[in-house]
Symmetry: C2
Subunit: 366 residues, 2 copies
């Protein structure tokens, strides 16, 4: 889908909501956003900077940035948009272009920004809270986006192999994590989040931060990482054994592997996020480890590492063709070890396409 | 100032505002914050994670995180705080502990979060918008914080030297920037922002992104970078000449150097941010380059790379002892070259203490 087509599609949604315009972009720290907060503006306009607001409606295609990014906006922003450089701050510039009933995203707007915007509005303009209108369109990835995510996933897969090559025993969790992040950068990407490398009992903490703990023989190592390439994220987890991990760890590993395979089998358009989760969770529960799988089965991935939809017991989302989601069951045996196996897949009408290429048999490394 | 003393000081401010409690932390993406968004919670409690809300008031010291961080909270959060792990999401847990007149920060709270919080409130609890109560306390850095920032600045200074060692000519801007960021990480820090390395005419763009452009002999190179160490940021800019840059570039360089020195001389407690800016700006304006200094003189630096106070023509801030601010005039000659020189200083009662150790005479490198 071209950028112009995205704007047209969004304009239809805006009209369907009874609005004249929708503000797209970060109204929490306008002009000083994080890349994540700028994701919707990027998706809509192609702009890769962090100071960006857009106005879209049936009769509006406007892009606003500040003087630092005028040239970049000329180069990157789709020609369907009129490009404007704010003379000082973004909010007053934005306010001067609003007309009619104007939607803003309530999760991307701070109470302070809303107040400032209201102060500057001309008479007759009405601000209306909306939720996730752009995020909903961003869910289903077009072919170019799927390829960008697949490319980021391939990069991360390559990083696993090269960082694994000298073995894990005797290296600290932090050394391995920092080596992986450095290798991602050498290959032209950025980490899509700080890598998790958690050995032995640390593996039982689903979001352990890599520590100075030395990885020892006989331990399982949960290694969760992703790359960001051209703005798009990947996300993958593998659990490796450093030498022979023993029977209990092998049993749990096989259980998680079966649960992950079952989760993958369940993912297709039309299935509920709770339903897919339950398929994997039932296997883990039936094996007596139900209490040890304390997070959801997965989440959408795209310009942000966590997007819609959610796969989990309380999810009300239904999977759609083009969703890119993680499938990542885990079992965490407190004080002992953990296992998580995660792939990234594109949801299709009748199944899913796996973007992760690493094998999932238990791999024993040095 | 101990963490407990910070909480006591904040409780006084809260009482002074006629409030029973203040919510501290990110109410835009609670549970999924960026490190920047978590800075106030970190300053107050010592917690280094990204899922944190605190409640402070004359009779309240509470810290809330989720299951991922229970153990870290036990380890890091000051003992003055009762530590609570939310059973699911942070907002409902937060709501259940609120009492009386409760302040929230309007810049750190999304319209959506405010709505969700209001839905969950018991009768008789009133939410009151406040602005920057914690940020105002964070401005004046105690000795430990000053030392942390100085240490980050020393690390960055060391990185300049080691990345400069092989010379700049023939390397791309991006290669130099990536080498600098990699070296910061090798030394145990993180970049406090993506490094800017801008050669020749790219130097005329104050926030140029490092490009594939090869740095050539005869060019000026604007190099702006900082390190983050133990949570605290540094910020520094030097402009180097790759071989002889010629008379015009030398003249502009000396002008910026004089303006920067004058700015440093002007910085002390009691001086206005606009006043300090004007001292440096007047020199640049008198030399006929007034239109070529299109940004403010500086900004506060601490747990975030941009904090209060601001030094610039429209600033209404007055400098206070303990403020840590950048002093960074620049002249940008469009299509030709740019010069910026930036130090980081601690404001004292009668002057300022410079945390940057690199010389400022024009340095010719290979």
């Amino acid at each position: 889908m071209s950028l112009a087509a995205r704007a047209d599609r969004l304009a239809e949604v805006v009209a369907g909501e009874g609005l004249d315009q929708l503000i797209v972009g970060d109204l929490v720290r306008p002009g000083d956003s994080s890349p994540d907060a700028s994701a919707s503006a990027r998706w809509l306009t192609g702009f890769t900077g962090t100071s960006a607001l857009a106005i879209v409606g049936p009769r509006a295609r406007m892009f606003i940035t500040d003087f630092r990014y005028t040239e970049r906006a000329e180069r990157e922003v789709d020609g369907a948009f009129e490009r404007v450089t704010a003379s000082s701050r973004l909010l007053p510039e934005l306010a001067s272009h609003l007309e009619g009933r104007v939607g803003f995203d309530d999760a991307a707007t701070s109470v302070a920004s809303l107040g400032k915007l209201e102060e500057k509005l001309a008479d007759g303009i009405e601000l209306v809270a909306t939720t996730g209108l752009v995020e909903r369109l961003r869910r289903q990835k077009d072919e170019g986006e799927q390829e960008a995510i697949a490319e980021a996933a391939r990069l991360a897969d390559e990083v696993y192999e090269s960082v694994l090559a000298p073995g894990l025993a005797g290296r600290s969790e932090r050394q391995v994590a920092r080596a992986a992040e450095a290798r991602i950068r050498e290959l032209g990407g950025e980490p899509s989040f700080p890598a998790i490398v958690a050995a032995g009992s640390n593996g039982a903490l689903p979001h352990a931060e890599p520590s100075e703990r030395e990885i020892a023989s006989g331990e399982l190592v949960v290694w969760d990482m992703g790359a960001k390439l051209d703005g798009y994220c990947s996300d993958c987890t593998r659990t490796f054994a450093v030498g022979e991990p023993g029977g209990e760890a092998r049993d749990v590993y096989e259980l998680v592997r079966r649960a992950q395979a079952a989760g993958l089998d369940a993912v297709r358009a039309g299935v509920g996020g709770a339903e897919a989760d339950e398929v994997a969770r039932a296997l883990i529960r039936d094996a007596g480890h139900g209490e040890r799988f304390g997070h959801g089965l997965g989440h959408g991935v795209g310009l942000e590492i966590h997007e819609s939809p959610r796969l989990g017991p309380r999810s009300e989302d239904e999977l759609l063709a083009g969703d890119v989601v993680s499938v990542e069951p885990g079992v965490y045996v407190g004080g002992s070890f953990g296992v998580r196996i995660e792939d990234l897949v594109v949801v299709t009408e009748d199944a899913c396409r796996n973007l992760s290429t690493l094998p999932k048999e238990l791999r024993l490394v040095d």
